[in-house]
């Protein structure tokens, strides 16, 4: 009977034992973290649509390290660094997730597909209730996206990396992915992962911020429902087409994002029902699923051991915190300028993240007064938040690329 080397059969274990202690430890931690993400996603503590595929991907990729040739270790999931043509053709035939990564991830297509899906589920009519007030709130809610830029530079990041990190404050996953792919391709994995983990936590964390900064009597301010104009589908399509054209004209670098979002809006209002169902269902959920899975698979020990990751974690949470505070500040400004009849809680919805922050605002208002209905205004601020985030992303990319 031939001598059997069990470690050569169970290569995941063999590579774990043979790796440097830091890599071995990082792999074990990431496997456990992946399991924790799945568990928290299943429980609903974190966003299950992202966290379940991300957790499974993270656990699998860190467990399934094998010897590719001789002493070279790697996986057969994907190679994010393959860029030279021959090498790329080779890995496309070996790594099973490489086609999805190469053809949808590295060019930003997946972010655009998610944006198109968000457009299909967004009623742009809410923006028309009070466009200037909504836009004003959304601008205040970009406080973190702006202030974290110099802070990140002071923390040792380059200007491009700092802009990508600061985009976490926009609380918009596809936007963070798009910006970091262009401005900081070597850090886009940790930046996007940090962004998605924190975005999952906004639903849990922002209510405390609202309660801390807005007293109960102001949280319960009732809005006047007669202010809500009835907007026809034709009017919404007109707005979408005009605003899309204007924004593409001003900021061509973010045109894929603008076009995807407003195309979704137009399809929702005017498109045939099968298109609406296709983009709002398979396209949106398919793109979200693969986004989560690929982010998880990109979480290899080597990537996460980058010393900048700890700083990214701190700056990411700071950006979201500042944006939340800015949004509420914007809510107060509109409250003051509107004769104190505007519910300042709506400010938190300016931190885009459609529709999570709008739901947070409505929930907090309802808890303060069961007759307070602010969701339409909150959705308006939230949609404006998406637009201001895309504008900032476009300006960062145009200035710094």
């Amino acid at each position: 009977m031939p001598e059997i080397d069990f470690l050569s059969i169970f290569q995941g274990v063999a590579t774990l034992v043979a790796a440097e202690p830091t890599i071995m430890l990082a792999r074990i931690v990431l496997m456990l973290l992946g399991i924790a993400f799945v568990w928290l996603g299943v429980r609903g503590t974190l966003e299950p649509l992202i966290m379940i595929p991300m957790g499974i991907g993270m656990t699998s990729v860190n467990a399934a390290v094998l010897y590719l040739s001789g002493t070279t270790m790697g996986t057969i999931f994907l190679d994010p660094l393959a860029s030279e043509t021959t090498q790329l053709v080779d890995v496309l035939q070996i790594n099973f997730l490489q086609p999805i990564y190469t053809f949808t991830f590295s060019n930003g297509l997946i972010a655009c597909l998610v944006f198109m899906g968000i457009g299909v589920i967004t009623d742009i009519g809410y923006m028309l209730i009070a466009p200037f007030r909504s836009m004003c709130i959304a601008l205040f809610a970009e406080l973190g996206t702006l202030l974290v830029l110099p802070l990140a530079v002071a923390a040792g990041f380059t200007l491009k990396e700092a802009a990508a990190v600061a985009m976490v404050g926009s609380a918009d996953g596809p936007m963070v992915l798009y910006t970091s792919l262009i401005l900081a391709d070597d850090l886009f994995v940790p930046i996007t992962i940090v962004a998605y983990i924190y975005l999952s936590l906004t639903y849990a964390g922002y209510p405390y911020l609202v309660r801390l900064l807005v007293p109960k009597e102001l949280r319960g301010i009732r809005m006047d429902p007669t202010q809500i104009p009835s907007v026809t589908a034709a009017e919404k399509v007109t707005f979408a087409v005009i605003i899309n054209t204007l924004l593409c004209l001003l900021l061509p670098v973010a045109a894929p994002l603008f076009m995807s979002f407003f195309l979704g809006v137009v399809i929702r209002e005017a498109g045939p029902k099968p298109f609406v169902e296709f983009i709002g269902g398979p396209v949106l959920y398919g793109a979200t699923f693969f986004l989560g899975l690929l982010l998880g698979v990109l979480c290899e020990a080597g990537t996460i051991l980058n010393p900048k990751v700890v700083m990214l974690l701190l700056l990411g949470i700071l950006a979201l915190l500042l944006s939340g505070i800015g949004g509420i500040l914007g809510g107060y400004v509109v409250w003051l300028t509107s004769g104190r009849r505007f519910n300042p809680v709506i400010g938190i919805a300016g931190v885009s993240c459609v529709p999570t922050t709008a739901k947070v605002a409505q929930k907090e208002a309802r808890e303060a007064s069961k007759f307070a209905v602010i969701l339409p205004w909150a959705m308006g601020a939230s949609i404006c938040g998406v637009i201001t985030s895309a504008i900032i992303a476009a300006i960062y990319v145009t200035l710094l690329r």
Binding site: M127, L128, I129, A130, P131, F132, R133, S134, M135, A138, L139, E142, L146, L147, L149, P150, A152, V153, A154, L159, A162, A163, T226, Q227, I228, P229, E235, T238, F239, I242, I243, L246, L247, L250, L251, C384, I387, T388, I391, I392, I395, Y396, L399, L400
Partner: protein, 61 residues
Amino acid sequence: MGGAIKGEREVAEFMDAVRVMGIVTGLTVLISMLAAGVIHVVFAAIRRLHTPAGGAAGKGE
């Protein structure tokens, strides 16, 4: 000496970042308000077209 040069370079980079932040803030406010203005004007114009003479134009701001 080396430390002082490094310190000066870091201050210069930080000031660069502050300048970029200022430019981005200004441009974002400008473009966002332009978008809001276009929305407001177009909405009012559409309402005026569809409202019988003497009727109220769009509500809102």
